[in-house]
Symmetry: C2
Subunit: 413 residues, 2 copies
C-alpha cells in the first residue's frame, strides 16, 4: 500500500504555520510500515487542489489530507475531492449530531455555515471528532483507493489519526504492527548508526533512528499475525541493540511520548528521592524541564537560578574567593553550587550547572561550550566537565539534558 | 514571478526531520512579495525527483530546492536537475576551492566523494557556503526560469538564503522590499484580525499576521523604487496599526528575530534595572527565557524555583500560615514570593508566578489555568490574576510570557 500526504492551507504557503502535520503523519506511516513517496502543500485554491488530487490518486492508494474542513468558503478540501471523484456532497446525520453537540459543549451558537462541515461524499466513513467542530472522513475514491480527510489543528489531527485512522490502515495491511522505542543519550547519530548499521537493513523488524538535540531514539517495529508474534520477532533485536549500546540506552518503552525528564522524574519517584537545582548558564531550564512531567511536584522540591556571580554567593554560599581563584566556570564552583542547593533545600540530590554559552567571553583556557556539572548527595559531591559544541541555545539545551541525565545516572547507576 | 519549493530527502518522508526549511523559505518569499502555490517533498529517488522537477518547472519561474547536496550516492538533487535540463555536471574551480578550504578549516580529510559537491551545470551562479561543505547554486533552466539549490541543514540554508538568494530574487523584481515587524502581546489573533481587517487587504504595503503562543507578530511590507520610498508607504499604515492596537504593541522593529524576552532585557538594560524571579508552576521558565538573550547577565541577577510549598517557605520566607489560609495559588502567596525574592537578591524588580498548570488538581474556586503573578519593586507590590486556557505546556508558557510582559510594563509603563 502506498500513501501520500496532502496538506491544504494558504497559511502554510505564507509560512505562517509550521507543517508539523506532515511529519506526524509521516512518522506514523513509517511505524505502520506503509510507504509514502510524496508530500504536497497547496493553498485554498480549487483548481490547484483538484489537480493535486488527480496527481496523488494516480500514484497512491490512500491520500491523506489535513486542513480545509472549516466552515468558511476558503475551506474547500472536501468540495474539491468530491469534484475530482464526480460526486456530490450530502449531509450526514451523525456528523450533524456531532457538530451540534460540540457547539452545545462550547456554549457557542452553531451558524448556518457550520452545516457545510456535516457534508461528505456518499459512502464516506466518518471520523467523528471529539476534539473540535470539524468531522473528518474516509472517502472511497474508486479502484480500491481512498481519500482520508483530517482537520488541520494538530491537537485534533494527532489523536484522530491515532484513534481512528491507524486501526483502519492496519486492517488494510491485515496484520498487527508493534513498536518499541529505545531512547539513547550521550551517543551521536553517527556513532549509533555505525554500531547498528547491520541491524538497520530494513526487513522485519525494522529499526529507524530519530534524532533530537543530544538524543537519538530508535524505533523498532515488527509486523506479524498478532502482538505476541510481533514481540517475539523484536525481542532478539532489542537485546542485541542493548548489548551493543550498553549504558547509552536510558529507556526502552512501548510509547514514543517519553523524555529524559520523564524517565528521571519516574526514577526519582520510584526511589523516593527529592531533587533540587542550582543553575547558571541554563538559567532555570533544568528545573523547568523536570517540571514538564505531571506529578513532578512529588520529587522536585525547587532550585536556584544564580546567573550573576553575586547570586551564587548570596543564595548558595559559594565563597567569593573560590569564584576569583578558580573562575566562575570551574569544577569548584559547580561543586559549591550543588552543595549549597542541597543544604538549603534539604534534598537527597542537588544538581548544578555553570558554564559559558557564548556567543562571547571565551578564552583559550575556558572556550565557549565549557560546562561543569555538580552532583551533591549524602555520599559526597562529584563534578563532570563537558565540552559542548553549537550556538548559545544548543549549548544551554545540551547542558540541561546532561544535567538531567547525570541525575538519572545518580539514581539508577 | 512564481516560485515553488521542493524539499528533497527520505528523512523527511520518514518523519525523522521536521521540515522547517519550507516554512522559512515560504516566509521569506512572502516578505519579498513573491507568489508560491506548491511545496513538495520527495525522497532520494531519481525518477520521482525528475518527475517533480518537470512538474514544478511547468508551473513556476523559480524552483527552490533544499537538501541532497551532500557527497553520497543518495545526494541526487543536482544530478536529477541536470538530467531534466539535458545537461552534464562539470567541476567548478571556485566550488572546489571552497570545499577544500572548509575541510582544512574543520581539520578533516577531503574524500574523493566530496568532489561531487563541486559539480554544477554550466552557467550556474554558485552559492558559496561559509557554513558547511556543500555549495549551492542558481541554475539556469531555460525560458528565463531557474532552479536554486540550497543545502538541507537549516543553519546553512537560512543564512545562505538571506545573504545570497534574496538579493538575487530582489534584482528580478526590479524594486526594493522593506519590512517592519510589529509585535503584539495580550491580544488574540481573532481580535487583531478584527481590529485591522480593512488594513489587511493586500496591495502595497501588505500586512500579514504570524501567531505563536500568546503572541501575534504583524509583518508590514512595502515595495518601492528605493528604501526611503518604501518606508514612506509604510509609515501611515504603521501609525494606524499602533493607534488601533494601543498598549498591546510592545515592539516595532526592522527585524523579525526579536522576542518578548529580548525587548524586556533591553528595556532593563536601558533603565539600568536588575530583575529576579520566583517561580512555582513555571519552574524556571521565566528566568531561562530571559537568559536566552545574550548579555542578559547585566540585568538578570538570578531567581528561585519554589515548586513544592515547603520551598516557598524555606527559600522565600512565605509564611506557612499564608499558604494554609489563602491557598498556595493566591495573590497573597504570589506577593510574598516576589517580595522574598526581591529582598534576598537585592534587585530592583522581582517577578513571581504561582498557579495550577494541571492536568489534575483543579477545583471550582481554583480551576486549572488559574495563575497569580507578583511584582515587587521599591514602590510596592502588585499582583495580577490570570485565567489561562490550554494544556499543561501551554498554561506554563502563557504564564511565563505574561510574567515577562509584566516586567516589561513595569519598566516602560
Amino acid at each position: 500500500m502506498i500513501a501520500e500526504i496532502l496538506c491544504v492551507g494558504t497559511e502554510l504557503l505564507m509560512g505562517q504555520v509550521l507543517n508539523t502535520n506532515a511529519q506526524f503523519i509521516a512518522r506514523r506511516l513509517a511505524a505502520l510500515g506503509i510507504s509514502h513517496y510524496h508530500q504536497t502543500v497547496v493553498g485554498d485554491n480549487a483548481e490547484r487542489l483538484e489537480d493535486t488530487y488527480r496527481l496523488a490518486l494516480s500514484r497512491a492508494d490512500v491520500v491523506i489530507t489535513s486542513g480545509g474542513l472549516g466552515p468558511t468558503v476558503d475551506d474547500i478540501t472536501k468540495r474539491a475531492a468530491a469534484r475530482v471523484l464526480g460526486q456530490e456532497l450530502v449531509p450526514f446525520a451523525e456528523a450533524e449530531a456531532m457538530v451540534e453537540e460540540r457547539f452545545r459543549e462550547y456554549g457557542k451558537p452553531m451558524l448556518p455555515n457550520n452545516r457545510s462541515q456535516t457534508l461528505f461524499v456518499p459512502g464516506t466513513q466518518l471520523i467523528l471528532n471529539p476534539y473540535g467542530t470539524a468531522p473528518g472522513g474516509i472517502v472511497p475514491a474508486g479502484e480500491g483507493k481512498f481519500i482520508v480527510h483530517l482537520p488541520g489543528p494538530p491537537r485534533e489531527l494527532e489523536p484522530l489519526f491515532r484513534e481512528q485512522v491507524e486501526p483502519w490502515l492496519a486492517s488494510f495491511a491485515g496484520c498487527v504492527l508493534v513498536s518499541r522505542y529505545i531512547r539513547i543519550f550521550g551517543m551521536g547519530e553517527a556513532a549509533v548508526d555505525e554500531a547498528l548499521q547491520d541491524l538497520e537493513l530494513g526487513g522485519n523488524p525494522t529499526l529507524s533512528p530519530y534524532c533530537s538535540t543530544g538524543e537519538v531514539m530508535l524505533r523498532l517495529t515488527a509486523s506479524a499475525e498478532d502482538e505476541q508474534a510481533a514481540r517475539a520477532l523484536m525481542a532478539p533485536v532489542e537485546a542485541e541493540v542493548l548489548r551493543r549500546l550498553g549504558d547509552a540506552v536510558y529507556a526502552v518503552e512501548d510509547t514514543e511520548d517519553g523524555s529524559l525528564a520523564q524517565t528521571c522524574v519516574h526514577a526519582l519517584q520510584e526511589h523516593s528521592l527529592t531533587v533540587a537545582t542550582a543553575e547558571s548558564l541554563t538559567g532555570g531550564m533544568i528545573a523547568a524541564e523536570l517540571v514538564t512531567v505531571p506529578g513532578a511536584s512529588e520529587v522536585v522540591r525547587g532550585g536556584f537560578v544564580t546567573y550573576q556571580s553575586v547570586a551564587k554567593t548570596m543564595l548558595l554560599g559559594v565563597p567569593e574567593e573560590t569564584i576569583k581563584r578558580c573562575n566562575v566556570v570551574s569544577a569548584e564552583v559547580a561543586a559549591a553550587m550543588a552543595e549549597g542547593a542541597r543544604a538549603r533545600l534539604g534534598v537527597d540530590i542537588a544538581v548544578s550547572a555553570t558554564g559559558l554559552a557564548g556567543p562571547g567571553g571565551g578564552t583559550e583556557a575556558i572556550p565557549v561550550g565549557t560546562v561543569y556539572l555538580g552532583l551533591a548527595t549524602k555520599e559526597g559531591t562529584r563534578t563532570i566537565r563537558l565540552h559542548l559544541a553549537g550556538d548559545r541555545a544548543r549549548i544551554r539545551t545540551l547542558a540541561m539534558k546532561n544535567a538531567i541525565h547525570a541525575v538519572l545516572k545518580t539514581v539508577t547507576p
